[in-house]
Symmetry: C2
Subunit: 272 residues, 2 copies
């Protein structure tokens, strides 16, 4: 039987999920059944959630796990009635931090957002639109405004990586697909040469690439094992020949690809 897990917050629930999943990922012999409940921000909602957890606890062999980020003290008090193994960031760390910073915490919901509003918001949105406008080599004339130019063969992960870099860090990332023609020419396209210091390459295991391409165009030359192997080999040779830093995306999440590019290149984040 799977162990029931609740991620609960009076805000978005994103932090509760993030820290809870980081912890649970270290236990590989237990299967978890996850449920995220965001915006538990009234006593009524909190009471309903507690009732739900307690019903679950009664029918389960083990009590549910609860990872929470509850800022509001009244809600927090109600949540204590849950028959669950509870881990709460604010309960655990706030008293110590209050002492260290010699200030009482506000215990107000939505502060994270308030702080990062406006300027930061616009940086993110601009960066997302930059990634969209400069996706897939569609336009190249704004490359001088790019923080980084991601290159690689079709479907190696360029687009999601660029979008994530924009959304999460406000970084302006353009991407340019390396085509078979580019590979045949045995040299970097002229437009990329001009911006060589901004280039970062992505590669991927040929087998994985074939699987991804097959979902898009099944049984095509484009998705064949032979074609994928050829493209991957040649693009890696190009990266090495031209001294372009690159990483293999096969075993990485979009978050990891993005953060590794930043760590390797030292590109400055616009959001900190």
């Amino acid at each position: 039987m799977k162990r029931k897990v609740y991620f609960i917050s009076d805000g978005t629930g994103i932090t509760a999920e993030s820290f809870g999943k980081s912890l649970l990922a270290q236990f590989d012999h237990v299967e978890f059944d996850n449920l995220t409940l965001p915006y538990v921000d009234t006593p009524e909602k909190a009471q309903a959630v507690v009732a739900d957890i307690n019903r679950q606890a009664e029918i389960s062999e083990h009590k549910p796990l609860l990872f929470s980020t509850i800022i509001d003290e009244q809600i927090s008090e109600i949540m204590k009635g849950a028959n669950a193994y509870t881990t709460d960031i604010f309960q655990a760390f706030m008293p110590g931090l209050e002492q260290e910073l010699r200030q009482h915490a506000m215990h107000k919901i939505g502060q994270k957002r308030a702080i990062t509003a406006n300027t930061q918001y616009n940086q993110r949105i601009d960066a997302v639109h930059f990634a969209l406008d400069n996706d897939d080599g569609a336009k190249t004339r704004y490359y001088d405004k790019a923080d980084v130019l991601i290159i690689g063969v079709s479907r190696c992960g360029k687009t999601p990586t660029c979008l994530y870099m924009g959304l999460q860090f406000g970084i302006r990332a353009a991407n340019y697909p390396i085509t078979e023609d580019d590979l045949d020419m045995m040299r970097l396209p002229a437009i990329l040469k001009e911006h060589k210091n901004k280039l970062f390459g992505l590669t991927i295991d040929a087998e994985h690439l074939a699987a991804i391409r097959n979902e898009r165009r099944p049984n095509s030359r484009y998705s064949s094992a032979r074609q994928c192997e050829m493209e991957v080999n040649e693009v890696e040779q190009m990266f090495q020949r031209e001294n372009i830093p690159y990483i293999n995306t096969t075993r990485y999440s979009v978050e990891e690809i993005a953060t590794r590019i930043i760590a390797q290149t030292g590109i400055e984040r616009r959001l900190k």
Copy 2:
């Protein structure tokens, strides 16, 4: 003087930042100077980071704050040499969880990613490409495959919201811009009527919209206060008349818009 804050991890650092910033957002009388250091995954890197923190501590009035998610026990041991007020998720919660789950944690870096690989990865990538292909009303013939159709006037936040829903939750979100022509017609465009149960509206304060549009096309009719007010008023009337659920995005981050849409509509996340 700003208080120096380090977010440190032997992984991406995303969780360390997320929980650290959630806590710090509750203190409004202190200014923080943030630095994220991901992939501190060798003893050498950890020693260099500790040296850096200790130098910082010497020249600062108060010692730095350190929020960390260090899984590797050797690295964790080295980090204890930092002269900082330290908050670590794994140190704080792992012993209790190990007892509750009656299993030793693996203490292996990169487990989160490993678990969420492949199927989940493809769901995310597909959803991101779905958002891109169905952005800004470019194509409408795949609306039957969409989980949600986000509608609203130009630059109210549709595109970043759709992309975030794809990246974070694997939700397939298309978006359609409500134009002046649509508003003049006083009725929902036919293609939206067909999918009325999937519609979700975004609106925004006219003043904020004008500021955003002004960055894109300064001093234009498009970005004028009058035009923005007119469009916002009319689109809100449309949402009300047609009984389309909607939220005002002015004070929300992309994460909040996305999670609120999910909470309000009950759309099922494809990634849990």
